[in-house]
């Protein structure tokens, strides 16, 4: 223990040596380098200012990024941190969406609804899936690897069956029901409001709500990851038998991972439903699960920031491809592509698949891995190693 530590905060770091930690607390701090502190501050400020810098369509995309990122963090907690690859995420997202719609939605002739406010329905949208996750997790704990992936995939199919059939809650297939309104204190957060003298349109206001929630849930996840629980997750992921021998309770850790992950998924579902306004069962299919897994794999396994980057990639990529693809010559002009090789829309979908392949082939650690490489390059500059 260095004597410097006695001198309190001011002298805990040596000037010019940002990565020299002199006590455990500083090493484990959430933002343990000045660069991290500054960059996070900058990103948060930019995110808050974004609605005034970009068009409404981009604000909606950014809202979706925030909402999907919360789900992706949940996916990363169970699959990235704890190593339990789950394809059942879409089920919990759907369960969250319908829980929110039931508690917060309006009762009609064919669906039930309690019209509670958002501060009640949002926590419930997380807690109900968390509880269901807690109940089904013991089944999932018995299997590993890709067996687990397919087992959890079964949840999506069974879940879709329930969503299709429990029509007084879900509205049923092809029709669905209205989502819950995000009302807090009588104020609808997805409609134009004046807050503290600032006029906000509904899209911007709801974006700021989702951004705030994302920041909160991201910090919570980061905190969890550096706690005893997070270390247990990592131990189970890296070698579960070894973890068990070291005294990490295997079943309890895995169940906890599924439960927390389901909570995040449910919150994501409740928030997503507000964006989509109409909740239809078909949304919560295998494809949605695959999207969440892709976000984690593309963003970066076992990183919170990677989950957010991955969500941004999957949400924004189709828009970027769409904006860029008209410059590609020789595309068919007909909507079905019958007067050429493919239409621009078909090309968009093909490129979406190809870019996922390209990223994983070039950088299996995900976009976060690219960042690490760029950072290391400049850290070591001018030396290449």
């Amino acid at each position: 223990m260095s004597a410097l530590a006695f001198f309190g905060l001011r002298d805990r770091r040596l000037r010019g040596r940002p990565t020299l930690y002199t006590d455990y607390g500083a090493d484990q701090a959430l933002l343990n380098t000045p660069a991290k502190r500054w960059s996070i501050l900058l990103v948060v400020l930019l995110s808050v200012a974004a609605p005034w810098m970009v068009g409404r369509d981009w604000v909606l995309l950014l809202t979706l990024v925030c909402v999907y990122a919360i789900g992706a963090i949940g996916q990363n907690l169970v699959s990235g941190y704890a190593g339990q690859v789950s394809l059942g995420h879409a089920f919990f997202v759907g369960l969250g969406a319908y829980t929110a719609a039931y508690f917060g939605g309006v009762e009609t002739a064919s669906v039930r609804g309690l019209e509670l406010e958002m501060w009640l329905w949002l926590p419930l949208a997380g807690l109900v899936p968390a509880f269901v996750g807690f109940l089904v997790a013991p089944l999932a704990v018995r299997v590993r690897g890709q067996y687990l992936a397919i087992l959890t995939l079964g949840l999506v199919f069974v879940g879709l069956h329930f969503f299709n059939e429990l029509r007084s809650f879900t509205g049923g297939p092809g029709v669905g029901r209205r989502a819950a309104a995000p009302i807090v204190g009588g104020m609808d957060l997805s409609r134009p409001q004046t807050i503290l003298g600032v006029d906000l349109d509904g899209t911007t206001l709801y974006y700021l709500v989702c951004l705030g929630l994302l920041i909160g849930f991201a910090i919570a996840a980061r905190n969890l990851a550096r706690s005893k629980v997070g270390r247990a997750f990592a131990a189970v992921r890296d070698r579960d038998i070894a973890a068990e021998i070291m005294g990490v309770p295997l079943t309890r850790t895995k169940v906890l991972a599924f439960t927390i992950s389901s909570f995040y998924a449910g919150i994501c579902g409740g928030l997503l439903a507000v964006v989509l306004r109409q909740v239809e069962p078909a949304k919560f299919d295998l494809f949605l699960s695959v999207e969440f897994l892709a976000m984690v794999l593309i963003g970066g396994i076992a990183t919170v920031s990677g989950s957010i980057i991955g969500a941004a990639f999957i949400v924004i990529l189709p828009r970027i491809v769409q904006d860029l693809s008209p410059i590609i010559p020789g595309l068919a002009t007909r909507a079905d592509g019958s007067d050429g090789i493919v239409s621009v829309f078909q090309l968009n979908r093909i490129l979406f698949g190809v870019l996922i392949i390209a990223f994983l082939v070039l950088e299996p650690r995900g976009i976060y891995g690219i960042w690490i490489r760029i950072r290391n390059y400049f850290k070591a500059w001018p030396f290449s190693y």
Partner: protein, 447 residues
């Protein structure tokens, strides 16, 4: 190995830079946005018409005549998803329709563009919402919005934007939603007319419905149930099925027909062509002797080549709100002229073309009023005469659906000689229930 690594690193940096650039770039450049520039040039003939969003003084991209202004219609279609057979054909018809209108001089000094603000929803509600948010500040109205929950999801935004839109689905709920202008009769009404027609041939005592639950099959079967109630027939129930790719086979539906007591005289279908052939072929080869009544989406030309074709020819009939593509009406003739002799991909092309006449009627009325704003479009809707050039009965649009129900539709049956596999046997079928029925809400779902 070194080479490879360096190349990888370069690619990685390039990717990161590209991502950053794309994410930070402002996608909404007001300088190039044609929708927000109000008309200021006093020299063109359009100056006595008020307009703002979605209409420009400048000509359309690829305009026929550079002296005209441009009206931008938004289209959100399924071009790559499970209903791309509907979306691509509907959109192609729209393009051909407006190309013909533009070729003939446009409307009131404007040409119409349906390409610039075309978005693909891939039949996904999220992509529908993002697609709408991209085009909402740039278009005068939605020329087509495909998907029922999808369109319902953007409804609040449409109301906020004062936007009207044409749904590319025939859910009966659209008749009760203000900003959505349904161009033809609902699936529910399709079944009513079809059963009236069948009842005149058979009589029909026992009716069964087989379909996908929800806005399409659910609506089709709900119409059959309404008809049975009104006509005093026996409704044997709704057998809910799914696409064969999801449920594996249609044995459950076929079993429900064969095990029903009494057996149905007619079975109303609300499925896709694949299930139609499987159900009709399967039921007949196991001894069923009733008839099958299919809605528009139950047919596709390739069914003529299947082993089920003899069965389909014997017992299947098809109802369409708009006459088949080869019908002899001025509207159909104009469509065939635009096609240049080749048949369309399917009958959704015909529907898409017919929807063009409805949009044209709205735009022309608004121009005649001198108010080509979104509010101007809403103002002309009530009491608007919609002339489909014979493709469908002309209607006077209004808030109450019961005053402009489409009570006649075409009944068709399979024929291997016809290019899309169907020939019309009654171009204007109707019946007592169709003429007396009234609706006070959607047949299925809520509004």
């Amino acid at each position: 190995m070194r080479e490879n690594k360096r190349w990888r690193r370069t690619t990685a940096v390039a990717c990161a830079v590209a991502l950053l650039a794309a994410a930070c770039g402002n996608g909404d450049d007001p300088g190039t946005d044609p929708g927000t520039e109000p008309g200021t040039d006093p020299t063109t003939p359009t100056d006595e018409i008020a307009f703002d969003v979605g209409v420009t003084e400048e000509p359309c991209p690829d305009a026929v005549n550079d002296d005209t202004g441009c009206i931008y219609l938004g289209n959100i279609q399924d071009l790559t998803g499970v209903f791309q057979v509907v979306g691509t054909q509907w959109q192609e018809a729209q393009r051909a329709f407006w190309a013909a209108v533009n070729e003939a001089g446009g409307i009131g000094g404007f040409e119409i563009d349906v390409d610039t603000y075309l978005r693909d929803n891939a039949y996904d509600v999220t992509q529908h919402a993002t697609g709408y948010s991209e085009i909402r500040d740039s278009v005068l109205m939605l020329g087509a919005s495909l998907g029922t929950p999808h369109t319902e999801g953007i409804l609040q935004d449409m109301v906020d934007d004062n936007m009207i839109g044409i749904p590319a689905t025939a859910w009966s709920g659209w008749d009760f939603i203000d900003n959505v202008v349904a161009v033809v009769g609902s699936y529910c009404m399709h079944s009513v007319i079809h059963l009236d027609w069948a009842n005149a041939q058979l009589p029909v005592e026992n009716v069964m419905g087989i379909g996908f639950p929800g806005d399409y099959g659910g609506d089709v079967v709900a119409g059959a149930e309404r008809w049975a109630d009104e006509a005093g027939a026996n409704f044997l129930g709704f057998v809910e099925t799914g696409p064969t790719a999801v449920v594996g086979s249609q044995d459950a539906a076929i079993g429900a027909i064969l095990n029903s007591d009494p057996r149905p005289d007619v079975v109303v279908l609300g499925v896709t062509p694949q299930e139609t052939a499987e159900i009709v072929g399967g039921a007949l080869s196991q001894g069923f002797q009733g008839r099958f009544l299919g809605a528009i989406p139950t047919w596709a030309a390739p069914l003529t080549g299947t082993a089920a074709m003899p069965a389909l020819e014997a017992v299947y009939s098809h109802v369409s709100a708009v006459g088949l593509w080869d019908a002899e009406t001025p509207g159909h003739q104009a469509m065939r002229d635009a096609l240049g002799g080749t048949p369309p991909g399917n009958e959704f092309y015909t529907l898409g073309w017919a929807s063009g006449y409805a949009i044209q009627a709205i735009l022309e009325a608004a121009i005649a009023n001198g108010d080509l704003t979104r509010q101007g479009l809403i103002d002309v809707l009530d009491g608007l005469e919609m002339d489909y050039q014979g493709m469908a009965p002309s209607t006077t649009y209004g808030a109450d659906i019961n005053e402009h129900l489409q009570t006649t539709m075409a009944i068709n049956q399979p024929s291997a000689d016809a290019e899309l596999g169907l020939v019309t046997i009654d171009p204007a079928a109707t019946g007592p229930v169709a003429e007396s029925i009234t609706f006070d809400g959607p047949c299925v779902g809520n509004v």
